[in-house]
């Protein structure tokens, strides 16, 4: 059985077109059951983040503007093309650095708003699949990135390296979760969950590895460039970076 998966895995990789874009699940690709289920799973996280944002806003009304600016920033990242070795064009998810700076639960709400705009302005993702995409990009991504950052800081690793790890894995895990979601939704009677998962992982996650590394490197570059501004104390949030 193991060998069968290996052959499958190799084949998909070989026949993979090189333009594997980092993508969200398209409209109509999930049945109503799965679309509803992922919405229900995402809801508590988004509500938690929304509560945190309300608290922040109550203390300082100007935080609203900052959060919206961050959302717009993450959105425009998807208009940028990452340089990558395979020549494919893809966009950074931007949630890794955001989660480190603002905290993962706040990033969930921002991520959801960004996904709404990607669905409405770019037709990227979808309205019915918003719940599933929120779960992969705005919940698992930020929480994993934040966790990795905290753990590697505790382990005493260099800050740059921690940021690299957090941003790269935050990007990669998004597409691993997307593959799981697709495999779960489309596993049928004679095609098992595992078989589909291997295929989706090799299409959406393995090809994402160079792009995840690119996002990691970019996050470190951005961090290093902003670090010079930290001494001036322009923004309270920079203390967290």
């Amino acid at each position: 059985m193991k060998k069968k998966y290996l052959v499958l895995f190799g084949l998909v990789l070989v026949f993979m077109p090189k333009y594997a874009n980092a993508m969200h699940i398209m409209e109509g690709y999930l049945s109503p059951f799965w679309a509803g289920l992922w919405t229900i799973v995402s809801l508590p996280f988004v509500i938690l983040g929304f509560r945190n944002i309300s608290k922040m806003v109550k203390e300082d009304g100007n935080k609203k503007i900052l959060i919206a600016l961050m959302g717009a920033f993450v959105f425009v990242l998807s208009a940028l093309k990452l340089p990558s070795i395979t020549g494919s064009s893809s966009h950074p998810t931007g949630v890794g650095l955001g989660a480190i700076v603002l905290g993962p639960s706040v990033m969930s709400v921002i991520g959801m708003i960004v996904l709404i705009f990607q669905a409405l302005l770019l037709a990227h993702g979808g309205i019915t699949t918003l719940g599933a995409n929120t779960f992969s990009m705005a919940i698992v991504g930020p929480f994993v990135a934040f966790g990795i950052y905290k753990l590697s800081q505790k382990a005493g690793w260099k800050k740059e390296f921690s940021i690299f790890l957090a941003a790269a894995f935050g990007n990669l895990i998004t597409y691993v979760v997307t593959s799981f979601q697709l495999a779960m939704a489309h596993a049928g009677a004679n095609e098992g969950f595992m078989e589909l998962l291997v295929k989706f992982l090799s299409i959406f996650a393995i090809t994402q590895i160079p792009l995840a590394i690119a996002e990691g490197i970019l996050s470190v570059i951005v961090y290093n460039l902003i670090a010079g501004y930290k001494e001036e104390g322009v923004l309270a949030y920079e203390k967290n970076i």
């Binding site: 084949l11 109509g28 929304f50 425009v76 705009f117 489309h186």
Partner: protein, 226 residues
Amino acid sequence: MLIIDRYAYINKLRYFNDDLKLFLFIMMITIALFSNSYIVHISIFIIMSVILVGIAQIPIKGYFKMYLLPMSFIILSLIALVFSISHSNVDTFFSVKLSNFYLVVRDDSLLKAIILTTRAFSAISCSYFLILTTPFNNLIKLLLKYKIPVLLIELIMLTYRFIFILLEEIAKIYKAQDLRFGYINMKNSFNSLGLLLRTLIVRIIKRYKDMIISLESKNYDNRFYM
């Protein structure tokens, strides 16, 4: 810069009742998602395309070009759904022998893939109907009407405003960098992209501070009135 946003403002259905548009969208997409017949899917797709191109007068070339992006996602996942590896080649539509395995296309997975593809296209056409005919401020009005929390709407509205400011700045910075060969190779690309993002973040901070001052001078009481 964002073509969907532009069409939403110039199409002929812009001033049509928003509630009716929303209702039609929800009804059609529900039918598309719950139905398992590709005839239903194809007819929804045709109805929506006729409404968009015929009545709303979205340019036909631009309209079909918009399906290219979803198409690449659909093709990618079709590869995963249609092809599989098997020990035998019974009940298959197509098979290739590879040493001791077969690369097969099963009959039932082919049918499933066809239905999934038509369902995706019909659902996408429904969402295009909503986003291509309704400008963003009308969508905000709908959100207000259906009692979405005000703070969330404020965040969405502010984000919408900032997106276009940032896109404009990115376009300018990118052009300046590109003219100086900033994206000629990998190393330069990474550096330029890092610089671009840094400049963007610095401008965001500056804009944030400016906006606080201007809001305070306008007696900002932590609320944007819509």
